[in-house]
Amino acid sequence: MPSVVVKNITKKYTQSKKEQPIIALQNISFEVEKGEIFGIVGPDGAGKTSLFRILTTLLIAEQGSATVDGYDVVKDYKSIRQRVGYMPGKFSLYQDLSVEENLNFFATIFHTTVEKNYDLIKDIYSQIEPFKKRRAGKLSGGMKQKLALSCALIHRPSVLFLDEPTTGVDAVSRKEFWEMLKRLKQEGITILVSTPYMDEASLCDRVALIQNGKIMAIDKPNSINQNFGKKLWAVRANNMFGVLKTLKSWQEVFSCYSFGENYHVVMKDDDNANAMAIHDYLFKCGYREIEIQLIDANIEDSFMALMHTENEK
């Protein structure tokens, strides 16, 4: 039995009677297997938080149904609340309570004790344990995140919902956080995690790419990239900003996006000879030190390509 089953979920927000309701989620369906790290990847406003709130029984969808651990999110919300762990996007612990007090509090309201499940959180909690007398509000971003994760885990949930756990966190803490998730996966906990950082998609077992309330693709990160379908060229030259303008105004170019020190270019006429064509065109336009390379698409390439397809629809 899958851990999470989402079927045709639609969620709307009505602001006033006059205005059109805002559609946060549009006919979303997916399944998450037990013990999987499932990523919901998309920018702010894509509907990630709405989806998490529906699955954690905090919101009710207008249409569709969903189950978590076999329980219906509307009817059996009480059972779900017994067995899931939830870490909202905003830091949601008591700032005026100490690290230890927060952890004990959450253990108690979930009918358990810190001792009982210490082995599960040991890896994470031991890093902040030296500061256990410190008020949660006085912790650094990375430590707050670790405490929040410890609190969400303290009752040994079967499904863990992490809503943008790495937003606003620096690259080092992000890396550490994903290493912690990998270890939790070993414990058999199903993890649903949302993120606006495309590069984190590759750290999930499977991902759903979400934009404007719609899922554009669900698959293993590699499979999504393999489905990119077109040849992708990394282009570089002197005067980079000029190159961007030149390529964007060239009618042969299908898309051109900056990527780190390169531009990722897809041509309308998909052909192996593209490299030469691009080189010649840029050279003709006066650019030098031109480098062109055929590369594999990454999740961000795929995401942008999918956004483009969605817009065309």
Binding site: G42, P43, D44, G45, A46, L139, S140, G141, G142, M143, T167, G168, V169, D170, A171, V172, S173, K175, P196, Y197, M198, D199, Q211, F241, L244, Y257, S258, F259, G260, E261, E300, F303, M304, M307, H308
Partner: protein
């Protein structure tokens, strides 16, 4: 672009009690340059940026922003810089037009200039149909683009961008950077912080702060060479892992 520094910082230090948030940093930023200001959370970025914006008086050291001293001439600095952050920039309960009007007004543009600016920006950002829409109804990416335009509405010498693209979709994020390039071509200096390491590659030069000090400062290309890394992400991790303190 070279040899025309608009930000000159010398041994700038800020101390809170025993805690040295910014520890004697020195650097120069040239006119029209896109300067990436990176660092882990708590490395001292925000404190440094506040001092440069004239919002916080340093403990010691010297700095000039747009030719003005950050101790004495903070009012002049504020007139000559723009500021935009992920968290605050626009009034959500005002319309697009009202926001431009307001910011242009507080920077002392006259009525005709304001009118021209509104026309220009609305067309430039393709907001013709949304000019009377409340800002809160705009998608995040559009908001950020509008916020940036508003931050440079008075053609400042420097614009400070504090994580301007957090949570923005990848396409809009790139469109945002194109706007940054445009501004830089016009001679506006860009001082930007970000958590997206690919964006660090878009900067002319990047500084990486660790524990209140600048550990590295160079073009992305040179940094990668010097630290023998293939990406800025690696460079950053290599340096930031040395940090002994956090926020």
């Amino acid at each position: 672009m070279k040899n025309e520094p608009v930000i000159v910082v010398e041994k700038l230090t800020k101390q809170f009690g025993n805690f040295i948030a910014v520890d004697g940093i020195s650097f120069e930023v040239n006119k029209g340059e896109i300067f990436g200001f990176l660092g882990a959370n708590g490395a001292g970025k925000t404190t440094a940026m506040r001092m440069l914006c004239g919002l916080s008086i340093p403990t010691s050291g010297k700095a000039k922003v747009a030719g003005f001293d950050i101790y004495q001439q903070t009012e002049n600095i504020k007139k000559n810089i723009g500021y935009m952050s992920q968290k605050f920039s626009l009034y959500e309960d005002l319309t697009v037009k009202e926001n431009i009007n307001f910011y242009a007004g507080i920077y002392g543009l006259n009525e005709n200039q304001i009118k021209d600016k509104i026309n220009y920006l609305v067309h430039h950002l393709h907001l013709q149909h949304q000019q009377n829409t409340l800002v809160k109804a705009l998608p995040l990416g559009w908001k950020q683009k509008l916020a940036f335009s508003v931050a440079i509405v008075h053609d400042p010498a420097i614009v400070f961008l504090d994580e301007p693209t957090g949570g923005v979709d990848p396409v809009t994020r790139r469109e945002f950077w194109e706007m940054i390039y445009d501004a830089s071509e016009k001679g506006i200096t860009i001082f930007v912080t970000t958590h997206y390491m690919d964006e660090a590659e878009y900067c002319n030069r990047v500084s990486i702060m660790v524990d209140g000090r600048i550990e590295a400062l160079d073009s992305p290309k040179k940094l990668k060479q010097n630290f023998e890394c293939v990406s800025m992400d690696e460079v950053f991790l290599k340096l930031a892992r040395k940090a002994t303190r956090s926020e």
